[in-house]
């Protein structure tokens, strides 16, 4: 029985006259690896940003483990601009607009399309800092080292995370000195440090060659099993998507145009037209 982890209902994101995400509805269930694909500018990262609280969607509802974490409906100027069929459905609902740190605390972690590692910090510190959120301490106890046991625990967990990623040997190097592929791995390790249940990966394989991409796919499956995660990823590398995802959603111009298993999506003419290219 599929247990739902993430659900988007009629999510719309409008910036002035531009509708970046248009009535997007989708579901991700426990233990799945679901991919979100589509041409550049289709609205994929915008959808991610709505989930993680960077944007407040113009309309719609997002729930995590059946609990509403984002809910919005058009007000003021937006009401005039957005006249979608589903706009009225959420008017009665109360608004929920979390900040990104609140979303992360709930158990949703993400990586970024353009790697956002902390440039002045080492590899080790990049991961260690992500553990700050869940540490049982306050500024006084931390400064006076009263809760030093927490610090020790965080450091041990960081070592474990880096070891598992084969990044431990770079621990004391500056994060930005790593080669590109390893930086992406590091970002994933950092996201894992926040103890998430749902992992949002934004183009994790960008810039990788086929062999690295293959390794990444196997790695994602590995950590999914090990940490009991659910993975929702944006990707352009079709080999990664087709080989490793359980289901795929395809969007174009902000709208969902197809969904299903890899086999179904690959054969869908709409998808081929918009994105994969006409065969032969």
């Amino acid at each position: 029985m599929a247990e739902n982890v993430l659900r988007l209902e009629d999510v719309t994101m409008q910036f002035g006259g531009v509708v970046a995400v248009n009535n997007l509805s989708l579901e991700v269930n426990r233990g799945e690896i679901v991919a979100l694909i589509g041409p550049n500018g289709a609205g994929k990262t915008t959808a991610f940003n709505c989930i993680t609280g960077i944007y407040d969607p113009t309309n719609g509802q997002i729930s995590f483990n059946e609990k509403t974490i984002v809910a919005n409906h058009p007000r003021g100027k937006m009401r005039k601009l957005y006249a979608g069929e589903n706009a009225k459905k959420y008017v009665a609902a109360r608004t929920v607009d979390p900040t990104p740190d609140q979303v992360t605390k709930l158990g949703i972690a993400r990586t970024f399309q353009n790697i956002r590692l902390w440039k002045s910090m080492t590899v080790f510190d990049n991961v260690l800092t992500a553990k700050h959120m869940r540490a049982k301490q306050n500024v006084f106890s931390a400064t006076l080292r009263i809760t030093y046991s927490e610090e020790k625990r965080m450091r041990e967990e960081t070592i474990a995370l880096l070891e598992e990623q084969n990044l431990l040997q770079y621990a004391n190097d500056l994060a930005v000195s790593l080669p590109y592929g390893l930086q992406r791995r590091l970002e994933i390790a950092r996201a894992l440090a926040t103890d998430p249940k749902l992992l949002l990966l934004d183009e994790p394989a960008a810039g990788m060659n086929p062999q690295e991409t293959q390794e990444l796919g196997e790695f994602i499956v590995q950590i999914k099993e090990k940490y009991g995660l659910t993975v929702f990823m944006i990707e352009h590398h079709m080999d990664l998507v087709m080989q490793f995802s359980d289901r795929i959603y395809v969007i174009d111009f902000g709208r969902l145009i197809s969904q299903g298993t890899p086999a179904v999506v690959q054969a869908d003419p709409k998808v081929i037209n918009a994105y994969l290219g006409v065969s032969e």
Partner: protein, 376 residues
């Protein structure tokens, strides 16, 4: 992984202890009027406020220019609290007003209250101001510092602040005694101890989990937020803590000067502190301390001749007259800002390993960060 080896830590403690012992010895042996004590005292006070500013600007990335305002709050809170009640009730200080605050406290409580009052103001000011973008934050904090200065000079608040008049007769460095006794405590050593404890606390903070959170906010706040760090809460924390210590440094300044007046805490003072932060290296505590002492030594001592007609053996009363010192100083600062913008220490701290490497000619050059040889 990243922690210094135990040996390094012990060496560091040892070196710091030596410095304190040296100061104590100096106080016993050298004439109390020597310029060296001015430099040491003022240098220690400035070290504290420069480090507090570095915490906020250098480590958390918040371009705030309100430090002088918080020093002012600290200085006045200290002066008002420690002025003996008998003096408050007479007309010697509060000439034109009837003093409203009718109690007094000791030095230690005075200092703590100075910090707390500054922290309180910071907490309130931070609420609207910390949501602003960096340039606007700078302007808003300058604005608040000026408003605070105007408020402290307002004659309606005269019964508390003595309006635009000078505050005097409060407990100063000559009143410091060994706790619970009446034995006088060497003033320079006291300033060093007070500053030192505060700076030590800041160092502990920066090396803690919260310090890392601050640096994450500085480097990339979008990523910091995505990793669960509440931006507003941590920015407010940095702001309040920085202002707490700025308040204490203001109080120490009041103790050192024996009189305080709101008019001296202009924005120019904040700029001076910022420049010292830059000279020492944004993001380096030891840099801030070293730069503070160098700055004070240069401006109060070494470059004095530039104002007095004679410098480095050259005599010229027409060139070396009043104001030349500051003029030369500003040129030096411009040169540093333009050509040495990383400052003395960049964003690193002074370390024995680093010093040894410098002096050891046969040492291999520091290993460059790995990255080249991996095929990915």
């Amino acid at each position: 992984m990243k922690k210094k080896s135990k040996a390094e830590l012990w060496l560091a403690f040892g070196a710091i202890a030596l410095i304190y012992i040296a100061v104590a010895i100096l106080e016993k042996t050298v004439n109390a009027n020597s310029i060296i004590f001015t430099v040491l005292k003022k240098g220690a006070i400035y070290s504290l406020v420069v480090v507090s500013m570095n915490l906020l600007n250098g480590f958390t990335g918040l371009f705030s220019l309100g430090q002088a305002g918080f020093m002012l709050i600290g200085a006045y809170t200290y002066a008002i609290f420690t002025m003996p009640t008998e003096i408050k009730l007479t007309e010697s200080v509060y000439k034109y007003y009837e003093a409203a605050v009718k109690f007094d406290t000791g030095i230690f409580i005075g200092l703590i209250c100075a910090g707390l009052m500054a922290a309180l103001f910071a907490a309130l000011i931070g609420l609207p101001v910390l949501r602003l973008k960096s340039d606007y934050l700078a302007i808003a904090t300058i604005g608040f510092a000026e408003i605070i200065r105007a408020i402290f000079q307002w004659d309606v608040l005269g019964p508390i602040t003595n309006g635009a008049n000078v505050m005097r007769e409060y407990l100063d460095l000559t009143d410091v005694t060994i706790p619970f006794t009446k034995i006088p405590f060497p003033p320079t050593l006291f300033v060093f101890v007070a500053s030192g404890v505060c700076i030590a606390l800041i160092v502990l903070l920066i090396n803690s989990s919260y310090g890392r959170a601050f640096k994450a906010i500085r480097d990339d706040e979008v990523a910091a937020e995505a990793m669960g760090i509440n931006l507003f809460k941590h920015k407010e924390m940095s702001f309040v803590i920085s202002s707490f210590f700025a308040g204490i440094s203001g109080a120490l300044l009041a103790m050192y000067q024996y009189t305080v007046q709101a008019a001296q805490f202009k924005s120019a003072m904040t700029y001076e502190i910022l420049l010292i932060v830059v000279i020492g290296g944004i993001g380096s505590i030891s840099g801030s301390c070293i730069a503070s002492f160098l700055y004070i030594a240069a401006s109060e001592w070494w470059l004095r001749g530039l104002d007095m007609g004679k410098f480095l053996g050259i005599e010229s009363a027409t060139v070396f007259r009043s104001g030349f010192r500051r003029f030369v100083f500003s040129i030096i600062i411009m040169l540093i800002v333009l050509f040495f913008s990383r400052g003395l220490m960049g964003d690193r701290e002074i370390s024995f390993a680093g010093l040894i490497k410098r002096f050891n000619k046969h040492a291999k050059p520091a290993k460059a960060a790995k990255g080249g040889g991996i095929d990915g």
